[in-house]
């Protein structure tokens, strides 16, 4: 009988602890890990040579993608013979500043910029959607981000987006993988110290899509998440997954008010 009581007690303990941790999460839901004046973009943590490479517009290899994106933006294709610039002119329906608000809720679903471009292509231009992480899609998304360069990040997290925000926050504090690591352990507690030869950044995504030297190409946020998960020896999700979108929403909100720096260069 005492064993039975003990088991019930243990169950009760675990259950109450769980509830307790959820309560803490809710009361501190909109508490930012960094104040606005403490926010530091990723380029402050990269090496000097890498930073110089990023700041010079000619030396920056990411500009190759931006240039191609500009061409694709003005290219007329398909049966209707339309281009992106046919609707999104400079004065009307301009895309300047659009990249600062993504990911956002659209038709009861959280989507990021790449998925939005594909949706627009499918429904408005009646064309085939690009493959995710393909060269053309990344070129377009980096061009759209590039035209709002210097504008502050400004994602909305309340209202319809709140449930995704909570999900993303939970993912950020969740320990995963063989290494048993959570994002917060490096990017909140140990930002600025060395991980092997690299300094750990605060983990903002204002420079994405960013040119990563290890892959020698532009990479989206989701591909970077996959790499981070692999480093913690966890099973990564696929690119374009809803959970990654939720995580992207939380991380973008952490860096709200940081200026967009696409295309940034990282190692």
């Amino acid at each position: 009988m005492t064993l039975y009581n003990l088991i019930i007690f243990i169950f009760y303990l675990i259950f109450s602890l769980n509830v307790f941790s959820e309560e803490i999460l809710e009361s501190q839901l909109y508490e930012k890990p960094y104040e606005n004046n403490e926010l530091k973009s990723g380029k402050y943590f990269s090496r000097e040579e890498t930073r110089n490479m990023e700041l010079d517009e000619f030396e920056n290899p990411g500009m190759i993608w931006v240039e191609r994106g500009k061409e694709l933006f003005n290219l007329k294709v398909g049966k209707n013979n339309t281009s992106c610039s046919f609707c999104h002119k400079q004065e009307v329906n301009s895309l300047v500043g659009a990249a600062t608000t993504y990911p956002k809720v659209y038709k009861k679903q959280l989507i990021n910029l790449e998925q939005k471009i594909n949706m627009c292509r499918k429904h408005n231009m009646k064309l085939e959607a690009y493959e995710l992480e393909s060269n053309d899609l990344l070129s377009l998304s980096s061009f759209v981000s590039y035209i709002s360069k210097g504008m502050p990040m400004n994602v909305v997290v309340d209202g319809k987006a709140e449930k995704y925000f909570i999900k993303g926050k939970k993912m950020f504090y969740q320990r995963i993988g063989q290494m048993n690591l959570a994002c917060t352990q490096c990017h909140d507690e140990r930002a600025g110290s060395y991980l092997r030869a690299e300094k750990i950044s605060q983990g903002h995504i204002n420079g994405f899509p960013s040119y990563l030297m290890r892959w020698e190409s532009i990479a989206s946020v989701h591909r970077r998440f996959q790499f981070c998960n692999n480093q913690a020896r966890a099973q990564p999700l696929e690119i374009g997954h809803d959970d990654y979108n939720a995580l992207q929403l939380y991380i973008a909100w952490r860096g709200n008010s940081l200026p967009i720096e696409t295309p940034s260069v990282r190692r």
Binding site: F58, P61, M213, E216
Partner: protein, 136 residues
Amino acid sequence: MANEERKNWRRRLKVPISALQGEIITIKTMAEHTMEPGVRRDPETGVIYPKKIINLVICRFNGKQIYKSHWFSGVSANPFMSFKMKAITSGLVEVEWVDDYGQSSYKKAVIMVYDKNGKKIIPMKLDKASSIKEVM
């Protein structure tokens, strides 16, 4: 396939628009290229990707070769290269990238060189009889 690949080759060249005579100017070039060294394998099938690199870069000024470099495997993808040159006359800067398959691509730019009095220096010599306007 080859044409599609060719469409995605982007070449960039930056030459200052104008310079003073005797000034040392920097010419910057960048080529979009995979620079496949020929040792990497496809992670799924294990097949080696064939070697494909840019192995020769030539720069010509007014048709005359002024700079040449041989590259080997080990140069990173999307290679950036810059070199310096002394501005003596105005002219046409051409850069040529050659693949190890023999495919080549060009990019060109014009630089105008002025002397201290603000006069254009053009590369050809003129007789006293013919004026600059006729030549241009």
